[in-house]
Point group: C2
């Protein structure tokens, strides 16, 4: 799957020293500088932890505290990081997945609000959410699935609102779900209990406990703060022995400084402080080093994700995770475009190629994202799949083994000859990328065939894909366990 | 201008060993293997030169000849290459340009037949050709201009047909023209004389001879052949002491083998044999090592340029030029899409980033290309400009100098603070890419503002750009020299 390391394996065989692609953008020395600046921030400026129990934990372990602000020194930091495993495996009845060393596990988008439909946006309907899930489930590019919350929750019970994202995916996904959380936003109280109940639901469905079956997400609040609720969720994750995943999303000039290096150093300090906490509470608990910071559109004061700086932040994220020897999450098929247009293609290609070069372990928002995470396009989803395939081919590099020099064939055909002789050679099919959705016709033929826009043919492909979905086999008991959390109209089939 | 070497200059200052970006795709050892295979081809299979005088030249210098086929050994090859200069300068009244070491001189597209206009294609009109020229002339991304032939030549005299591409650019371009050739296609006889007259016209306009003022283009005919006319033109270039530029354009499975490495080894043999010829005729004559081979769409038997293999061929081209220590030409903003759509963006971004990574000296077809070279889109031209700017920012990498760590600012704002304080910081403007044409609005605001497609705003920008063109000042004598080669309607103004 990590076919982009193919070239490196060839290099290694040949004994050629090579670098990882991201080192062209951020060197090992740059990473060292950023790490040292983060240590300085942790020691001199500190991080706020807005949770009394957590502050007490830091205090017990000898951290300096001032109000809510925790200061930590290099020794505390490096001791904690040394107990985090380099890799870990999510064990799941739909398949296991190991994170570490560039797993490149692709997951669909999370939390989209609008759907793009023929140049117009509408609020995602519940059926759109189901279709998004089906597209991911039938994708040969997406590795692990996810189920977004139902945005139209007027007719839903509180149990359905809170637990449907877990129940729907356990019931209907053919793929492993790495990231399953109760939607606690509708709750006025009892957040912790419901969050825990969500994790227990997975254990009941799987019929076993004590293994890693999920990754619990935890956002810092830039600059340099963890507010109460994520810390509460962290404590439950630690209690249930489930890996945690940190994701700062800082915006330069708003919640971060106006430079890429400063933004990374600051958010790295946030993640590192969270990792220290994780190991103080439960040494050896797996952690995913994450990052989603991007650029800012200062005219509208909005997050701008399809930006070259977002790619640079991805490279630095992988660089820092390598430095700390940790699994990481970053990247995605990100764009700020609003339509199925050239901008969507430019930004997505830049981000998809950068993501493959960074080779994080986990990639959320891999396909279909537009409008700074807010918009989902089914058609872009399929085009993004082709973009991953295309860039995976590119990153394989050039195979110069003797078979691929084709000397005998060139000698046989000779000067001014013609290589077209019957069937398409197997080697061509292996060497040259053939896209599923890109239109490679000749312009003349294209006009003669009726000028069909790529959008039209991809719309047809979306319909075919949705129709091809079939649910997995789960037991009657498993189904019964989940049904009370699933809206009535989706209980029997989707 | 070559700002993408900025990061390397930082690395060099820091004493960090680095590789050029293309070495991730094709290593120095891969290049050595390809070179050796090319030598084997030249020695065992040979190259056809369909020109008696040229065959005689090879014979005189000791090459083995069999019919039209010339064989050459390693010694002959390496001796010839050793006399080619590593860099050379085109001297021109509109500005000098030096090729060598990654000059990245961007030039517009050449030879487009259709123009894309709101989802439909029409044959390029003469005014379209003039507008394409104006877009390039007013571009801050395009470095050297070019003037395409007038496709509608019904009312034109033979002199206007043949010499207008030279006369129009000399009269109307504010930028240097690196590549000026008489259009000899309409001629039934006297090709050589007209070609020479074209080169002399430049010397007359410039008011001096004996300097390099142009690069003469020479296509090989894959596999492994040079037919008569390009060789005839080469002899004139050598006589006029003007640099020559080789461009194989081989298609796998048709005019080349079915692998990337084989295709490159074979076309490299073609270029190398041409380079040997150049140095046998005129040792020290500058040569541009070129390559435009791409993929093949085997369903329609068409050239496919927006392909990952095209990018790999660009990397290998730079690698071979570096190996031989030569200036080179490859790359471009290439796409096979037919519309201003997502595919156009994906393919162009891949190729533009790859082009900047390869860092050739000369990039033809830099902006606006669609449909396998056949289609020009004015709107894509402007989007491509933004794509170059975006990728140049990306390739600069992360600046980790102390100023850019922003330690004092982060300390001042502190945990949970806000960095938004009055004016946009200068550092943000330098660090974060702000596109001219990409739409970075929030999806909600975009809908409220009337859903304007990016295409519409770029169409307006195209109009503004065309209106901003002003011709250069040239003398009355220069103008008179050119007017007889310019169609009447463009003699006074364009």
């Amino acid at each position: 799957m990590i076919d982009f390391y193919y070239q490196y394996s060839i290099y290694l065989k040949k004994g050629i020293k090579t670098m990882k692609p991201y080192e062209n953008y951020v060197s090992k020395q740059d990473i060292q500088i950023i790490h040292e600046e983060s240590l300085k921030i942790l020691n001199e400026i500190g991080v706020k932890f807005e949770h009394p129990e957590i502050l007490e934990i830091f205090k017990t372990h000898g951290a300096r505290i001032d109000g809510n602000t925790v200061f930590m020194d290099e020794k505390m930091v490096m001791n904690a990081i040394s107990t985090i495993p380099e890799t870990f495996t999510i064990e799941n009845s739909k398949g296991n997945h190991t994170l570490g060393g560039g797993s490149l596990i692709l997951m669909p988008g999370v939390g989209n609000i609008f759907r793009l439909d023929n140049g117009h946006l509408h609020k995602m309907t519940n059926n759109d959410t189901v279709d998004q899930f089906k597209l991911s489930d039938t994708s040969d590019v997406i590795d692990c699935n996810y189920f977004n919350i139902f945005l139209d929750d007027k007719g839903l019970s509180i149990d359905e609102r809170v637990f449907s994202p877990i129940a729907m995916i356990l019931k209907y996904s053919n793929k492993t779900a790495l990231h399953l959380q109760a939607n606690t936003f509708p709750l006025k109280s009892g957040m912790s209990e419901s969050f825990k109940k969500g994790l227990e639901l997975i254990e009941k469905f799987e019929g076993r406990s004590g293994v890693y079956n999920n990754i619990v997400h935890m956002n810092s609040l830039s600059p340099l703060c963890f507010d109460h609720d994520p810390l509460e969720k962290f404590l439950i994750a630690a209690e249930m022995n489930q890996p945690v995943w940190f994701s700062p999303c800082s915006m330069p000039v708003l919640t971060g400084p106006p430079s890429v290096a400063g933004l990374i150093a600051m958010t790295n300090a946030e993640v590192v402080s969270g990792m220290v906490l994780s190991q103080l509470v439960k040494p050896g608990l797996p952690v995913v080093y994450g990052q989603t910071s991007a650029s800012t559109n200062l005219r509208t004061v909005q997050l701008s994700i399809g930006a070259p700086e977002t790619a640079l932040i991805s490279y630095a994220t992988r660089g820092l995770a390598d430095f700390y020897k940790l699994p990481c999450r970053t990247g995605g098929g990100l764009s700020d475009a609003k339509d199925f247009d050239m901008q969507a293609g430019i930004e997505s290609d830049m981000m998809i190629r950068s993501t493959l070069e960074a080779a994080p372990d986990l990639v959320l928002h891999a396909c279909g994202i537009l409008g700074s995470f807010n918009i989902l396009s089914f058609e872009k989803f399929l085009m993004d799949e082709d973009t991953y395939r295309m860039n995976r081919r590119l990153l394989k590099g050039i195979n110069t083994e003797e078979t691929h020099l084709c000397h005998d064939l060139i000698a046989k055909i000779g000067p001014r000859g013609n290589f077209l002789q019957g069937r398409t050679p197997k080697m061509f099919k292996e060497e040259f990328f053939i896209p599923k959705y890109f239109n490679k016709e000749d312009p003349n033929q294209w006009q003669e065939n009726g000028n069909e826009p790529v959008l039209r043919s991809v719309q047809s492909a979306v319909k075919e894909r949705l129709a091809s979905y079939t649910p997995p086999n789960i037991t009657k008991e498993q189904s019964n366990l989940l049904n009370k959390y699933i809206p009535a109209c989706y209980r029997e089939r989707i």
